[in-house]
Amino acid sequence: MENLENKIKINLDGKIIYARKGSTIVEAARENGIYIPTFCHFEGTDPKACCRICSVKINNRLMTSCTTPVTAGMEIESNTEELKDFRKSIVELLFVSGNHFCPTCEKSGNCELQALAYRFKMLVPRFPFSFPRKEADASNPKIIKEQNRCIACKRCIKTIHDEQGRHYFAYKNRGQHLEVVLDPVLGASISDALAKRAMENCPVGSILYKGKGFDQPIGTRKYDKQPIGSEIENQS
């Protein structure tokens, strides 16, 4: 029998689950084998809630589940038709607002955007493609920052910094001109380990480690084998 001390009861899509006190809805769901899609959320850092895909409905209000802590008796809608369609539309929105050509992308099969598109059975986005003109910045000796694929999720901004806490990545501009850029000064001396981690942490193929690619054949990669989220749903 599980220890229910320090746990509170919440209602997720009509199902009673027990959540750790102080956990967020995303965490609580995952610990109970329920998958709520996320992009910008990255375990081990503060949630930033900028992709909005994890939105759930509480009291008929949309709230991001990566930032909202559970409270006793909370009633949450997550896997409804309306919210599934909403999440799918976010994926589509991210596709049409960048230039995502999966077959030529090094991240194909490991890409969370692609994986979610498969999970939501996206065929053709409902929104018109915008084909924005964006460039790849390959000036750094170790990293290519491919702006065509960036979804501005902030993961690299949050997770990649030096010992003094200085950020290697930061936002530039605002609105539709917003982009994530790599610091040219600090970035020049980025370590191999950190550069590789930046690539791993990027949910799409916007941060690429230079020199070697396609190490693992496409078709054998993480989401080629099983859909995104199933690692959570299939846990015993």
């Binding site: 539309s89 607002s97 018109p128 501005a152 290697y168 609105g175 917003l178």
Partner: protein, 628 residues
């Protein structure tokens, strides 16, 4: 590029404090007109952050530049009220006489021309900011002389072509040609105000609890638009423990069509500052900040002088008004051109020297705000009203307004009316009364609450399932049709931050007004949420398709459905960024129906005849089209 010693000087003035990055950047911007890559690098070394982080803040704000700008920089307001008063001709004149186009700097580096979001001069458009001074009622003729004078090297003060405006606009520390246009006075704008009289004589008799109770009893709600009960906010702030507590006055009035705070700051600065001191007393705050939008920089010297006078009279500083242990002071933080900073948590981010990106709530600022301290953010008008309430009592205040919305509201009325300006009306005033008092005729639509509100129109719309739509698009204000002109301004009917824009029947609501509002949201989005960063542009393109005559009925339904996605955005800007289109579909659906190809179901997305025209010319043949 600034010399390193100068940068060192500026940074040491702000004690190498990362949270003062806004002031650091603004100082360099004033000194040399822009901030170079090298400057950002020097700053980053001294602050111990990366260059990219400095750039993140620098590139967020409209009035901070990272490329060289002109000797004279002309920021021409592009709000819809300016467009209606002949902005296009003025813009053309600037381009012609300055010899460059908007968005660029002229070759000799003399003039920089820029479009800019509403600068709060809607009652005297077209208006522009030239080297931090405001120039109103522009015409092509005036532009010609302005440019000639600038070429002759005159200072911004010597460029004025009109007398200084009325009231404090003529103050030696203001010297602006802005006019107040106060058209209707009630309890806030009345001349009976004796500066600091409550502070001087009565505050001693009050406990903080009694102040909060009095405000709660008056049922005062936030005047910025959201309408959160002020007394409750103060109570929350007071209840939260913290090493410091912070009172912030939000003077980042950015909602297009709003200019009431401009007038309050010009004519009643003491009232606002007294409100801040009283709020500090009630909540036990020791830090005071007034966030002044960059567009109102021309008031900065004047306001700082008022603060200095207060310090002399012991209304700021230690043991204020002789009350032991009541220490509080106010600093004015200048913004740098970002509408989103009017959102309280974005404002706090900006105050901390970061890009103005709203925070996720909870925690709310009253729990964790500026530098992590409990923070109470109040609108300029809210603080001014609070003083009046305390002075006369909540009971007196209850004699004004309606049952659910007590008191008065300052309205900023502009657009197609004879007397644009500031009107202080009691809550419960109907739209029809507002039109009568401002001298508006032949009205097609009214925008209540600015672009993030909704558009209200004249024509009757019977063939729509409104109740269903209204469920999704609960308005925060609206573009109103005549059918609704008997509706009342109140928190239960038509809540508003005070922006009222009137459009007569000659206006192209979709092509002019709605498009202008959409451009505004696209320009002012912080870009953090995937929804607000991308969706408004997609919706605008869709509207353009309809305006071009290529729309089909599915497009209208697409707009309604796609607009829902925005509701998931973090802040009010994102959530309402689709409102101009959604509310105009709701109130003016016939305008959309008129422009779509009502008989076709097939969505080509373009005009086939036009697209094949050029090819046809080459082969000297006109293709035959079969329309289905």
């Amino acid at each position: 590029m600034a010399e390193k010693s100068k940068i060192n000087q500026i940074l040491s003035k702000f004690e190498n404090d990362e949270t003062r990055l806004m002031d650091i950047l603004l100082s360099i911007n004033v000194m040399q007109g822009y901030i170079s890559q090298k400057d950002m690098q020097d700053i980053s070394v001294l602050l111990g952050i990366s260059m990219a982080q400095v750039q993140e803040t620098a590139t967020f704000y409209h009035f901070i530049s990272t490329t060289p700008r002109g000797k004279y920089n002309i920021y021409l307001d592009n709000s819809i009220t300016a467009v209606m008063k002949g902005r296009a001709e003025v813009k053309e004149a600037f381009e012609q006489f300055c010899g460059t186009t908007f968005g660029k700097v002229s070759e000799e580096g003399m003039f920089g021309l820029y479009d800019t979001s509403c600068i709060g001069m809607n009652d005297q458009e077209p208006a522009a900011i030239i080297n931090d001074k405001v120039f109103t009622n522009l015409t092509p003729y005036r532009v010609k002389h302005l440019v000639e004078d600038m070429r002759a090297g005159k200072s911004p003060n010597d460029l004025m072509y009109e007398d200084y405006g009325n009231g404090n606009n003529a103050d030696p520390d203001v010297k602006a040609m802005v006019n107040n246009h106060i058209r209707k006075k009630s309890i806030i704008l009345k001349d009976d105000y004796q500066p600091f009289s409550f502070l001087k004589t009565k505050l001693k008799e009050y406990t903080p609890e009694r102040v909060v109770k009095e405000i709660e009893a008056s049922n005062l709600r936030g005047r910025g638009g959201a309408g959160f009960p002020t007394g409750l906010k103060w109570r929350f702030g007071r209840r939260t423990d913290g090493k410091h507590r912070v009172i912030i006055c939000n003077a980042d009035e950015g909602e297009p069509g709003t200019f009431k705070d401009r007038v309050l700051l010009t004519e009643y600065p003491e009232l606002i500052f007294e409100g801040m001191v009283v709020a500090a007393f009630a909540t036990g705050s020791d830090i005071g900040l007034l966030y002044l939008r960059y567009e109102y920089k021309y008031l900065l010297r004047f306001l700082n002088r008022k603060l200095a006078e207060m310090r002399k009279k012991h209304f700021l500083g230690k043991d204020i008004a002789g009350i032991g242990d009541f220490d509080f002071d106010i600093r004015i933080q200048l913004g740098a051109g970002a509408y989103i900073c009017g959102e309280e948590s974005a404002l706090i981010e900006s105050l901390e020297g970061k890009r103005g990106e709203p925070r996720d709530k909870p925690p709310f600022p009253v729990e964790k705000g500026y530098l992590g301290y409990p923070t109470i953010v109040n609108n300029v008008e809210t603080l001014a009203t609070a003083v009046k309430i305390l002075h006369h009592g909540a009971e007196w205040y209850a004699g004004f307004g309606t049952k659910d919305s007590l008191g008065t509201k300052l309205l900023s009325i502009s657009g197609d009316c004879r007397y644009p300006g500031i009107y202080e009306v009691e809550w419960g005033t109907t739209i029809r009364e507002i039109l009568a008092m401002s001298g508006a005729a032949d009205v097609q639509a009214i925008q209540v609450g600015g672009p993030s509100g909704m558009i209200i129109g004249m024509k009757d719309i019977n063939n729509m399932d409104n109740s269903k739509l209204m469920k999704w698009y609960k308005p925060s204000g609206m573009m109103i049709a005549e059918k609704f002109f008997n509706r009342k301004l109140s928190y239960s009917d038509l809540p508003t931050g005070g922006s009222i824009m009137i459009f007569n029947n000659s206006r192209d609501l979709l092509g002019e007004v709605v498009m202008n509002f959409m451009d505004f949201f696209i320009e002012e989005s912080c870009g953090s949420c995937s929804t607000c960063r991308n969706m408004p542009l997609i919706m605008k393109n869709k509207l353009q398709k309809i305006l071009d005559g290529n729309g089909v009925s599915q497009d209208i339904y697409d707009l309604l459905n796609w607009g829902k996605v925005l509701k998931a955005s973090r802040c009010g800007l994102g959530q309402t960024a689709g409102n101009p289109i959604l509310s105009s579909i709701f109130h003016f659906r016939h305008l959309y129906e008129q422009r779509i190809q009502s008989l076709t179901q097939f969505d080509s997305g373009f005009d086939l005849e036009k697209a094949t025209e050029r090819a046809g010319k080459f082969v000297h043949k006109k293709p035959v089209f079969h329309h289905f």
